[in-house]
């Protein structure tokens, strides 16, 4: 089986942290989704 270098994994992790940090505005959109959930959207109604 192939193996991925430990440093490459850490690089990937840092990459994902950057992706989250650069898109932190989405946090507020998701919070709106969680707070004001559309009941018909999730099939409750």
């Amino acid at each position: 089986m192939y193996k991925i270098n430990f440093k490459l994994k850490l690089l990937l992790l840092v990459g994902f942290i950057f992706v989250v940090a650069l898109n932190v505005n989405d946090y507020w959109l998701i919070e709106i989704l969680v707070r004001y959930v559309c009941t018909s959207c999730v099939g409750i109604g």
Binding site: F6, L12, Y27, C41, V42, G43, I44, G45
Partner: protein, 257 residues
């Protein structure tokens, strides 16, 4: 403390944390690392599958969600399925402790990838969260609690009955086939399972210590059939049941370098 007790404890804690949303300030925009519907009146986090569908409907790329799942995945692989997911916990409770006593069927691991593809494709095409309308986890943790807390809120629509049907079907199948939903259908498991290949945490198999007794495989609720697949397979949820039962201590949690 035994590993099994630690696992049960983290599952309880994860369930409590997931429901902290009953205190308004704890309703956050963080992405949950497991399938827990934000339709639950007490949900504290957003379900990644629900959020990704919503972003697709609005023609936006869900980078925050993908990044969050990437961080969870690189650090812990599919561990959240085995140690935290409330729907996975229910499956644990429903299935027989000896997985060999469950019905054994072929490992159709790719089905969950088809479900994931369909979930995303349908959200894009139908401009609706189609998967959420059928999600049995949403049935249990959102639809039923919502109905109990707000009985007068809305009439019982078609999707309420569909939800109850999918939940009943999933529970029936989980009684027959261990971790049925996690093994074959969970679209989030498909995403996090892929990270088992690159995740830092894994279960290491010491081939020299192993006496090939197959106790680990007999007890594996995810139906893993080869010892070398433990920790690396997209199906492994790193629950550690194999680690705690191996008589030769040939399996151990390890940071993969």
């Amino acid at each position: 403390m035994k590993l099994g007790n630690k696992r049960r404890l983290t599952q309880i804690v994860a369930f409590i944390i997931s429901n902290l949303g009953f205190i308004r300030i704890f309703k956050t925009g963080f992405v949950c690392p497991f399938l827990y519907c934000y339709g639950c009146p007490f949900a504290a986090f957003g379900c990644p599958i629900g959020i990704i569908q919503n972003f697709m409907i609005y023609r936006q790329f869900p980078l925050f969600t993908i990044g969050s799942l990437g961080i969870y995945g690189i650090l812990l692989g599919r561990t959240f399925c085995g140690w935290a997911c409330p729907f996975g916990t229910l499956h644990d409770l429903l299935s027989h402790s000896n997985a060999k006593r469950s019905i054994q069927i072929r490992n159709y691991w790719y089905v969950k990838y088809i479900i994931l593809f369909l979930t995303l494709g349908l959200a894009w095409v139908a401009l609706d969260t189609v998967f959420c309308k059928f999600c049995p986890s949403g049935s249990l943790f959102a639809v039923i609690p919502f109905r109990l807390i707000y009985p007068e809120s809305a009439e019982f629509g078609l999707f309420f009955y569909i939800h109850i049907f999918t939940l009943a079907l999933t529970i029936a199948l989980a009684l027959l086939i261990s971790r049925f939903w996690c093994r074959y259908l969970c679209p989030l498991g498909a995403i996090t399972g892929a990270f088992n290949k690159v995740g830092l945490l894994t279960i290491e198999w010491n081939e020299e210590k192993c006496k090939k007794c197959n106790t680990c495989l007999d007890l594996c609720k995810m139906g893993i059939t080869k010892t070398r697949d433990i920790g690396a397979s997209t199906d492994c949820i790193l629950c550690g049941r194999c680690v705690e039962t191996c008589p030769e201590k040939a399996l151990n949690f390890k940071i993969k370098k």
